[in-house]
């Protein structure tokens, strides 16, 4: 929430848009016709608020902001944008951390948050049809009475939308056993950049043709706007065991994680937090974490009673063999919920410590976790920055978190330089750029560290098959030189559009 307040300040400082000019734009007039005046926002406050997401990156330049309620309205907006040669940027809750929803090229921002209806629960097909604006946790709560849930559970699940989850192929602690968003998307209605409405994927076992569904998931809003989604629903497991293991070093925790996987156990979740985070969390919500452990491992197994007991015992054993100083089994649902509350509010806890943070997201082979973690601390020390680590250890997904105060002279440069070194260390260890936040504008400049120019060229061919005019969320993912449009020109406002 503190970010929100800061954004509001920035709005009043930086934007003085001439309302008359906005109103004389024939494009805006067409949008108002297609929707209704109250759902086309052109005031400086709306445009500035929606020019950012939850990342640390400078905002873009938003054109009009629209709040459609139906697929037909999204199609009408997209067609109007096509006719007027304007860009389109889809937007959910704006919790993205890679700048994916930042509007570049003065686009119309299509905020789908009002398309938040859960249309149908279809247990015979094992799916639910939902609007893209449905909040992730709302779906799971809605499914609880019939004993199901939506498996992807990003830490932001109280706010982020399923449309945003699709676009970023989001993950969460429980994606270790259940798979990330892609594994849970069966079919999607999509408004293409042309304004045509198509169905990608299907409810049948093996839909005919290329897997365009699969290509759309994780495309960060660059291939069109999804307006209705068939998500797989997952049966709740009758039994859950949650263990909290304490360690004297992050390395011991990381080795335990490798040991568990090597033993053939795929737990529902394996999350590691270092001491700095656990102390912050304890001060914030009192979740029951030890303050004196260098690292804690939160391990959860679910399924049938006997199996989860067997696995929980083996996890405890592997932990002890790797130096665990304490192993605690959550004794009740309340205790378990509290442990998870601690994990999922870690970022809220951080806000108590410093006004700003930069949350990184890379993946390394599990066997390299300890080595790369040690490097992150070394890098932060060298730049005189505070770094903490809380991460999805089970799939090697690191989340180094750098704390800072943006008001300190030159600190952002240091934060970015340290971040670059962390990315390099992850790639050098055989890892990848992003595990769940995506590339957005954040990691474009690192794409050629992971991919050759032939590789990037082929990614762009996919992009152009959906969006030959490069008008949907331009300037994202693929770096300048390989992509549709040049990011520099997208940042500046074309003369003919706004003053």
């Amino acid at each position: 929430m503190y970010r929100y307040a800061k954004l509001k300040n920035r709005v009043t400082r930086t934007l003085g848009i001439d309302a008359a000019e906005v109103e004389s734009d024939p494009f805006v007039a067409e949008l108002v016709d297609a929707l209704s005046p109250d759902r086309v926002k052109q005031d400086g406050a709306h445009r500035a608020l929606l020019s950012h997401d939850a990342s640390v990156f400078d905002g873009g330049n938003s054109g009009p902001v629209v709040f459609p309620e139906t697929t037909e309205e999204v199609a009408a907006v997209t067609r109007a944008a096509a006719t007027h040669g304007r860009n389109v940027v889809p937007r959910g809750a704006g919790t993205g951390l890679a700048g994916g929803a930042i509007p570049l090229g003065v686009p119309v921002v299509v905020a789908v948050t009002r398309m938040n209806e859960i249309h149908e629960i279809d247990t015979d097909n094992g799916i639910a049809w939902v609007g893209p604006g449905v909040v992730n946790l709302d779906l799971t709560k809605h499914l609880a009475p019939i004993g199901y849930h939506f498996a992807p559970d990003p830490s932001s699940q109280q706010v982020c939308t399923i449309g945003g989850n699709v676009a970023n192929n989001s993950g969460g602690p429980h994606c270790l056993a259940y798979g990330v968003t892609n594994a849970h998307i069966v079919a999607m209605e999509v408004v293409l950049p042309s304004g045509d409405v198509v169905m990608l994927g299907g409810l049948d076992a093996e839909p005919a043709g290329y897997d365009l569904r699969g290509a759309f998931v994780g495309s960060e809003g660059t291939l069109g706007i999804t307006t209705k989604i068939a998500v797989r629903i997952t049966k709740n497991r009758p039994e859950v065991r949650t263990l909290l293991l304490s360690f004297e070093s992050v390395t011991d925790a990381a080795n335990t994680v490798s040991g568990i996987i090597a033993a053939g156990i795929v737990p529902a979740a394996l999350e590691v937090m270092d001491q700095r985070i656990t102390v912050a969390v304890e001060n914030y919500v009192n979740a029951g974490y030890p303050r004196d452990a260098a690292a804690v491992l939160l391990a959860e197994v679910d399924g049938l009673a006997d199996g989860v007991d067997l696995d929980a015992d083996r996890i405890a054993e592997i932990g002890r063999a790797n130096g665990a100083t304490a192993v605690k089994l959550a004794g009740s649902d309340t205790e378990r919920a509290l442990l998870w509350k601690g994990r999922k509010t870690a970022f809220g806890a951080i806000a108590q410590l410093a006004p700003d943070y930069y949350l990184h997201d890379t993946v390394v082979p599990r066997s390299k976790l300890a080595e790369v973690l040690t490097k992150t601390y070394e890098i932060a020390d060298r730049y005189d920055l505070t770094i903490m680590n809380v991460f999805h250890a089970g799939d090697g997904n690191l989340h180094p978190l750098i704390l800072f105060d943006a008001r300190d002279e030159g600190v952002l440069e240091k934060v970015h330089a340290a971040g670059g070194e962390i990315i390099t260390a992850s790639l050098d260890a055989g890892g990848v750029l992003s595990g769940e936040h995506g590339i957005g504008v954040e990691k474009q400049k690192f794409m050629d560290r992971m991919f050759s120019s032939d590789d990037l060229d082929h990614q762009n061919r996919l992009r152009q098959a959906f969006d030959p005019g490069c008008r949907t969320n331009p300037g994202k993912v693929i770096p300048t030189g390989h992509s549709c449009a040049d990011i520099q020109s997208l940042r500046s406002v074309p003369k003919e559009v706004w003053a």
Binding site: D124, N169, G171, C175, V180, L192, D196, V198, M199, L200, G202, L203, D204, E206, A208, G209, Y210, D211, L212, R213, G214, A215, V217, G218, S219, R237, S258, I261, G264, V266, G303, L304, A305, D306, G307, V363, P365, R366, S367, H392, D395, G396, D428, G430, G431, V432, E436, G438, M447, R449, F451, D454, D455, L456, H458, Q459, R461, L462, Q464, F466
Partner: protein, 317 residues
């Protein structure tokens, strides 16, 4: 474990040799074991038919990944993985890893082994221009860039010829058992059990595969016994040759009526929607908007139409 950045242009001589073989012009296709050779249409005459490289490059059990050349048979791959207690989602019906991915058909036990399309982590393929293209990454979780691996699964080698892949591996559960009962209903099975690995029906008999820790399998088997006279059997039934793709709900009504697909005998996979029948599935209609994107994809990836000419993804066997 390689310590070079994950996926930059490869100088692997085996893949470079494969790229050279693909070359830069003339129609070309890869043959695996030809177990699905007619899927998607008849190969254009005068097409040069080559083989993909074979061999297992590296299995990392505690990363749950395996790097394997596309020409390796699924049987060879699974034999090697089994020695370390692991398997993949790929169906083993006598074909190759590249063929299984290019065709994209799921194992009938996909409920318990994930779908083929989510098993592929990284792919190196040779493009129509004869270049080696890498997409995805070697780690089990990755959202770096556009998801070409998903596009390659089921693309029948019409967008690129698969040379080497990294697949996700999974532990083989301690116990796998099949049960069968006449007169049971697949819906009751799906509602009663937590996570069966397979539920098959031919309209009369229902087959169920249970996997996991022995006491869990025993507990689920006891639950099965409460809804039908299930007895342990050696495995699934013989499958008719043609494959249909229906919705899971359609399979449930197929069990009830037996006539929905216009074929008298079938084996259907409940919870998934796959049906095996003696009749081929009639061609399925494709959304016109989807067809336009598919055409553009083919045009963008293979402008001269040299990759697997005559075949189209989405055809049925």
């Amino acid at each position: 474990m390689s310590t070079a950045p994950a996926a930059l242009a490869t100088n692997d001589p085996v893949l470079l040799g494969f790229a050279e073989e693909v070359g830069t012009d003339g129609p070309v296709a890869v043959a695996g074991r030809r177990t699905r050779w007619t899927t998607g249409g008849t190969l254009a005459p005068d097409t040069r038919v080559i083989a993909a490289p074979s061999g297992i490059v590296e299995h990392l059990p505690d990363e749950m990944t395996v790097t394997v050349r596309a020409g390796t048979t699924v049987a060879d791959l699974h034999a090697e993985l089994a020695a370390a207690g692991q398997r993949t989602a790929l169906p083993d019906r006598g074909g190759t890893v590249g063929g299984a991915l290019a065709v994209g058909e799921n194992d009938l036990r996909a409920l318990g082994r994930e779908r083929v399309r989510t098993a592929l982590l990284q792919v190196r393929y040779v493009s129509a221009e004869g270049r080696i293209v890498t997409s995805g990454g070697p780690t089990v979780k990755n959202v770096s860039g556009f998801d070409l691996p998903r596009l390659m699964v089921g693309s029948l080698g019409t967008l690129g010829l698969l040379g080497e892949v990294i697949l996700r591996t999974n532990p083989i559960p301690p116990v796998s058992r099949w049960y069968a009962a006449a007169g049971a209903h697949p819906r009751a099975v799906l509602e009663t059990l937590l996570a069966p690995s397979a539920v098959l029906t031919n309209g009369e008999t229902v087959w169920v595969e249970l996997e996991g820790h022995a006491p869990d399998v025993d507990a689920e088997a006891a639950r099965l016994a409460s809804i039908g006279s299930f007895a342990e059997v050696a495995g699934p039934p013989e499958l008719p040759v043609h494959r249909w793709s229906l919705t899971p709900a359609e399979v449930l009504s197929l069990h009830d009526t037996g006539h929905v697909i216009g074929a008298s005998d079938f084996v259907a996979v409940a919870g998934l929607g796959l049906v095996f029948s003696h009749e081929p599935q009639p061609p399925r209609s494709v959304d016109p908007g989807v067809a336009i994107i598919a055409e553009r994809l083919k045009q963008n990836f293979d402008p001269t139409g040299r990759l697997n000419p005559g075949r189209m993804a989405g055809g049925t066997a």
